[in-house]
Symmetry: C3
Subunit: 344 residues, 3 copies
C-alpha cells in the first residue's frame, strides 16, 4: 500500500510540515531496518542511537524527543503518542488482503445452525447443531465448532481451532490456530484402585475483545463456567484449567499454567511460564514475574517472583544472600577457629 | 433432565425419607451456586460454612457430617460416599446429548480399514490403510488416524487428534482435541557439523481406560514402544518423549515434560509443570510436587519437591533457612565484630 | 525388510568376515531387547554389561570395544562409527512404507497455487492463493497452508499443521502435527484501559533441514521476520515468539519458551523447559541446562543452569551450600553461645 505522507499523517493522528505532503511512503519498519520510502518510529530512548543512521524517509516522534543528529532529509511526523500512531501506520500500510467471504461447499454445517451476515466459513470446517455465528465473523478452514456454541460478531477463528459444546464467545474475539476451547477439565476421584472421571458438564464463556493464542487450552467448568473477562489477552500454549475466573484486561503470557478454580483479578499480568495452584486468588493488577510458582493468594498490586513466589524484593535479597553463601561458609570456619583459639 | 428425588437416590446409591420421594430435581450444582430444585453435595469440611445459606433443594451427605444449621426444607440424601454419589447425579442429570452415529460421507477412509459396530466417524476425518476401529467408538471430525493403527472399543477421539502409524489403543480410551500420538521422538547424532536424525520406527501402545488431554504430545519409540498403562490419566499440554514406560493409574498433570526412556511406576502422581530427565525411574506411588525437576531415580512412595528435586521436607527446611539467610548475614557480622573485640 | 549380513554391511559402512555373508537380518533392536536374526549396536560403555546375554545375531561395534564375553555365534560388524552405521541399518531394515503420491480430490487448493513434481497433498488440506509447493514434498491430511506461502523441495508436513500467510520454508523441512507456524506474536500497548493489539505484518522464514516438533508454535515477526537457521531442530510444545533469530544447527528441546527478539547463536543447545526473556542474545554453542531461566545475554560456549541462570559450576556450589544451610544455623547458634560465654 502506497500513501502520501499527508494521508498517512491524517490517518495516524500526526502532523507534518506542508512541504512534505506529497512524499510517498510504502511500508513501516523499525528504526534499524527501515529503508528509503518507509516510515519508522522513535518512542523509546534506547533507540535514539539508531537515529543518525536510519534510512527511513519519515519518523513518528513525540515532542519530548530530540531530533538532533537525524539524517538530513528525514521527515518527522509529530504526534502525542508515537507508538499508537505507528501501529496505525502499520495497519494502513500493511492491510490484511481482503478475502471474498463465503461459506465453503466443503464445510459441514448442521441444519439448525444460525449464520450471521457477511461471514466466512472455510473448507472442512464443521459446525454442529444449535450453534450460531455472528455477523462479520470469519471461520478459517478446518475449525470444529460443537453443539450449542454461540460465536459473537466480528470474531476471527483461525484454522484448526476446536470449540467444544456449549461455549459462548463474545464479539471481536480472536482465537489462533490449534487452540482448544472447553475440553474436559482434569479431575478424578480415586476409588477401588481406579481413577473415576469427574464429569464436566459446565462450559467456557469468553467475553468481548479477548484474544487467545495458538495451541492454548481452556478447559470447561466441571459444574458452572470457566470465564474470561473482556479485553483479556492470552498467549500461546497456555493451560487454563476448569472453573477459573479470569478478570478483564488480564495478560497471560506463553506457557502459563493455571490449575483450576482460581480467580485472576482485572489487569493482572502473568509473565511467561508462571504456574498457579488450585483455588488461588490473584489480586487486581498483580504482576507475577516469569516462571513464578504461585501456591497461595496474591494481594492486589503486588509483584511476585520465584517458586514458591514471594514479593520480588524479598526474593532478590534472598538470591543475593545465596550467591554469597559459599563465601559465608569459609568465613564461618575462620571465625570458628579464631573462637577456638580464644577458648584454649 | 428432570428426576424425582426417589429416582435420583436409587441411581446414586443414596437413601431418602419417603416423604421426599416426589421432589423434582433438575440439575446438580456446587453448594455455593446451587439453586432451587438442584442437588448439591457436602463432602468436605471446608464447605460446611456454605450449608446454612445454600438454595439447593437436596444435598448428598455422609453420616459423618452434621446437618445442623441447614436451611429448613433442604432434603438430605444419605450415602456412604457422597463424592461418588454426586458424580453419578451429575452424570444422570446432565447426560451428553445422544448423537446419531454414522460414518460421514465427508470422511476419507482407506479401503482395507476394519470398522466395528455402532461407531461414529466425523466429517473430514481420515483413516489410513490397515487400521481398525473397535465397536462403539466415536471418532469426531477432522481426526487423522494413520496406517496400521488399532483403536479399541468404546473409545472417544475428539476433533483434530492425530494418531501416527502403528499406534495401538486399548478400550475405553479418551483422547482430547489436538493431542498428537506417536510423532517422532527428538533424537539426533551430531556428525560433520550437522544433526543426523535418529529414525523412529517404534510405536505407542496405550492401554485401557487411559485419558489423554488436549494438545498433549506422546512420541513414538525410536525402537520399541512408548507405553501407557491401564487407567493412567494425562492432562493437557504434556510432553511425553520416546520410549517412556508409564505404569498403571499414573496421574500426569498439565504441562509436565518427560524426556525419554523413563519408567513411571504404578500410581505415581506428577503434578503440574514437573520435568523429568532422560532414563529416570520414578517409583510406584511417588508424588512429584508441582514444578519439580527430576534428574535421578525416585524411590517408591517418596514425595519430592524443588528443582533439582529432593524430599519435600528437606526442601521446605532449606527454603525456611534461605528465607532467614539475609538476617544471618547481619548476625554474622555482629558476631565477627564481637569476636574481634575479644581478640584485641 | 530382510537383508543378508553382506548387504547390510555394505549399506552401513561396516565390515564382516566372509563366512557370515549370508546370515539373514530382519530387524534392528537395542542390545537388551534384540532377538534372533536382529542386529544391534554396542557404542556406549554403559551397555557392555548387556553383551553377554544379548540374543541378537549381529552387532555393530567399533574397534575400540572389546568383544570379550559375547555370546558364541554373535557376529560383529566392525565399523568406524557404530552409532551412525546402526542408524543406517534401522533405516534400511525399517523403511517407511511407500505411499502412492497424489493430490487428493478432497483437498481445497486455490487456482493460482504452484505445485511441484511428485508431491502428495492429503485429504482435507487447504492451500491458499499464490502459494507454492516444491518437488517431492509430502503434505499430509488436514494441513492448512495460507496465502503466499513458499514450501521448498522434499519437505514433509504432517497432519493438522497450520502455516499462516507469507511463511517461507526451505528444502528438506519436516514439520510435525499440530505445529502452528506464523501466528501473530503477543504484543499490545495499554491505552485507555485497554490492550491495543500490535499488528503483526512480518513473517516466518525457516531454512533447509529444519525439523519442528508436534504442537510447537513459531510466531511471525511484528515487522520483519522470525528466522530459523539451517539444520536447527526444535522439539514438541516449544513457544518461539515474534522476531527471534535462531541460528544454524541449534537444538531446542521440549517445552522451551523464547519470548521475542532474541538471537540464538549457531550450535546452541536449549534443554527441556528452558525459558528466555525478551531481547536476549545467546552465544554460539552455549548450553542452557534443563529448566534454566535466562534473563540476560549469555556468552558463547558457556554452560548455564538455574533460574535466574548462572554458570553451572557457580549454581552447583550454591546448591551444595544451600543444602548445608540448615546445619549452619545450628552451628551458628552454638558459636554464638560459646562467644557469649567468653564475653561473660
Amino acid at each position: 500500500m502506497m500513501l502520501t505522507l499527508k494521508e498517512l499523517a491524517q490517518l495516524c493522528d500526526a502532523e507534518i510540515q506542508d512541504e512534505h505532503s506529497s512524499l510517498e511512503i510504502s511500508a513501516a519498519a523499525d528504526i534499524m531496518n527501515a529503508e528509503v520510502s518507509q516510515v519508522t518510529v522513535l518512542s523509546n530512548a534506547k533507540y535514539t542511537k539508531y537515529l543518525a543512521n536510519t534510512k527511513a524517509s519519515a519518523c513518528f516522534i513525540s515532542s519530548k524527543f530530540s531530533t538532533e543528529g537525524a539524517p538530513e532529509g528525514l521527515v518527522f511526523l509529530s504526534c502525542d503518542d508515537p507508538e499508537i500512531s505507528f501501529l496505525k501506520a502499520v495497519n494502513v500500510l500493511h492491510p490484511t488482503p481482503e478475502i471474498t467471504r463465503s461459506i465453503s461447499k466443503q464445510s459441514a454445517i448442521a441444519d439448525n445452525v444460525t449464520l450471521g451476515k457477511n461471514i466466512n466459513i472455510g473448507a472442512f470446517s464443521t459446525i454442529d447443531e444449535h450453534s450460531s455465528i455472528g455477523d462479520e465473523t470469519e471461520i478459517y478452514p478446518s475449525v470444529h465448532i460443537g453443539r450449542n456454541v454461540s460465536v459473537g460478531k466480528n470474531c476471527r477463528i483461525y484454522p484448526n481451532v476446536v470449540i467444544y459444546d456449549n461455549t459462548q464467545l463474545g464479539n471481536n474475539v480472536i482465537i489462533h490456530s490449534g487452540a482448544i476451547i472447553a475440553a474436559d477439565g482434569f479431575g478424578y476421584k480415586y476409588r477401588n484402585n481406579q481413577h473415576v472421571k469427574v464429569p464436566h458438564v459446565g462450559n467456557v464463556i469468553i467475553a468481548d475483545h479477548v484474544e487467545i493464542g495458538a495451541n492454548t487450552c481452556i478447559d470447561r467448568g466441571a459444574l458452572g463456567s470457566t470465564t474470561i473477562g473482556a479485553g483479556s489477552k492470552i498467549d500461546n500454549l497456555v493451560q487454563l484449567g476448569h472453573n477459573n475466573q479470569v478478570g478483564r484486561n488480564v495478560i497471560i503470557c506463553g506457557q502459563v499454567g493455571i490449575s483450576g478454580s482460581c480467580t485472576i483479578g482485572d489487569g493482572a499480568v502473568l509473565a511467561g511460564g508462571v504456574g498457579v495452584a488450585d483455588h488461588v486468588n490473584i489480586g487486581q493488577q498483580a504482576v507475577l514475574m516469569a516462571r513464578s510458582g504461585i501456591a497461595s493468594d496474591i494481594k492486589a498490586g503486588s509483584q511476585m517472583f520465584g517458586s514458591p513466589a514471594k514479593d520480588k524484593k524479598v526474593v532478590w535479597r534472598e538470591l543475593v544472600a545465596l550467591s554469597k553463601l559459599p563465601e559465608l561458609f569459609k568465613k564461618f570456619k575462620d571465625l570458628e577457629s579464631r573462637l577456638q583459639k580464644l577458648e584454649n
